[in-house]
Symmetry: C2
Subunit: 214 residues, 2 copies
């Protein structure tokens, strides 16, 4: 079942989508990932996922007995994709560890602009949308934020003595996440990149005042 061929035909002249060619489980995750991001978790119905993945409900329930199980699967994908899908693309060709931090932030800036402010951080959306996440969900949210923070912390550590020794690298990385999430939220509300740029500017100024050696 995991290798069932896509039933959608390309006979209507449209190219078969990437999603349609995936094995069932991967196709379901891929569609859920996209819909949760675009529409929100609560606004995405199981019927939406079945329709867009061209899957029958028996297959869905085989792999994901509940919508929450799909969310857990999606959050695991994000977690496992942080290195290959998020960091490597924005860090390509950038060696300087502190430039990498700002390149990561610039990636969210591009996402906001390219999506006309429709898309922000998919993890942050879920964190606010679900008032009281069940433990499996909460755990995956935390794993995502920890992996992001850990990657930025490593940049801060690699920067060596360009950051004064008494500055807590971990706390600085966590503040980068805070500023990014707050900035993404405000930019989406204002439908304007200004508040995001302002957040990054303040974070940059904070780093400079910590005694950062550019």
């Amino acid at each position: 079942m995991g290798t069932s061929l896509p039933r959608r035909s390309a006979g209507d002249g449209r190219p078969m989508s990437m999603e349609a060619q995936l094995p069932t489980r991967e196709r379901l995750l891929s569609v859920a990932m996209r819909l949760f991001w675009e529409k929100g978790y609560n606004s995405t119905s199981v019927a939406d996922i079945l329709r867009e993945s061209d899957t029958n409900s028996g297959s869905l329930y085989h792999y994901f007995p509940t919508k929450k199980d799909l969310l857990v699967g999606v959050l695991e994908r994000y977690r496992d994709g942080i290195e290959p899908m998020l960091l490597l693309p924005v860090w390509e060709g950038i060696e300087d560890p502190l430039e990498r931090v700002f390149a990561l932030l610039a990636g969210y800036r591009r996402l906001l602009l390219d999506s006309d402010f429709r898309l922000g951080c998919p993890i942050g959306n879920v964190a606010l949308e679900i008032a009281k996440p069940e433990p499996e969900v909460r755990e995956r949210l935390v794993q995502n934020f920890e992996a992001w923070t850990g990657a930025v912390e490593r940049c801060m550590v690699e920067a060596g003595d360009r950051i004064p020794g008494d500055v807590d690298r971990r706390a600085l990385a966590a503040f980068a996440l805070t500023a990014m999430e707050g900035g993404v939220m405000l930019a989406r509300a204002y439908q304007d990149i200004g508040p995001f740029d302002a957040a990054v500017d303040r974070f940059r100024d904070y780093m400079a005042r910590l005694g950062l050696q550019g």
Copy 2:
């Protein structure tokens, strides 16, 4: 119709709720405000609002033809309530303008703890939950964030020369909002006050490094 008496009786021995005694329009707004905050905008159905407000659909549609109109009304309530409902309670007995900024942030801390992380900033929730808000909604979101930022900016201005003259008071207030929203999001995801406290600590440290005179 705006003055219709509540139909819910207290005859079952339970005290009539405050909500039940409000005129219809106010009762609808009050219930919608609570449900949007607790459950989210998308997860709250019109049926939920009718049931919890003990209102018939004719009355609802008379005052609020669409769910979006209810959201606009709710956001206007938050906007108009910033001074009396948000700021005055947390600033009571506090004269120092910079202490007021941190008292406001502490108000969100208390909300997170008192609600066991179920409740955060109701405006921030809506900002992330609706991928592409219609203009009337977007405008009210911005009015809320602007009113919040404006109030904090006035504190920064009142602090006079305790903040160095070259520091942009407006930008500093906007960064307080960014740090609060990011901190609330992370605390809710972690179900732990630690990330919120860390965000406030970093903001406080930033202000200190700007040359703030305590």
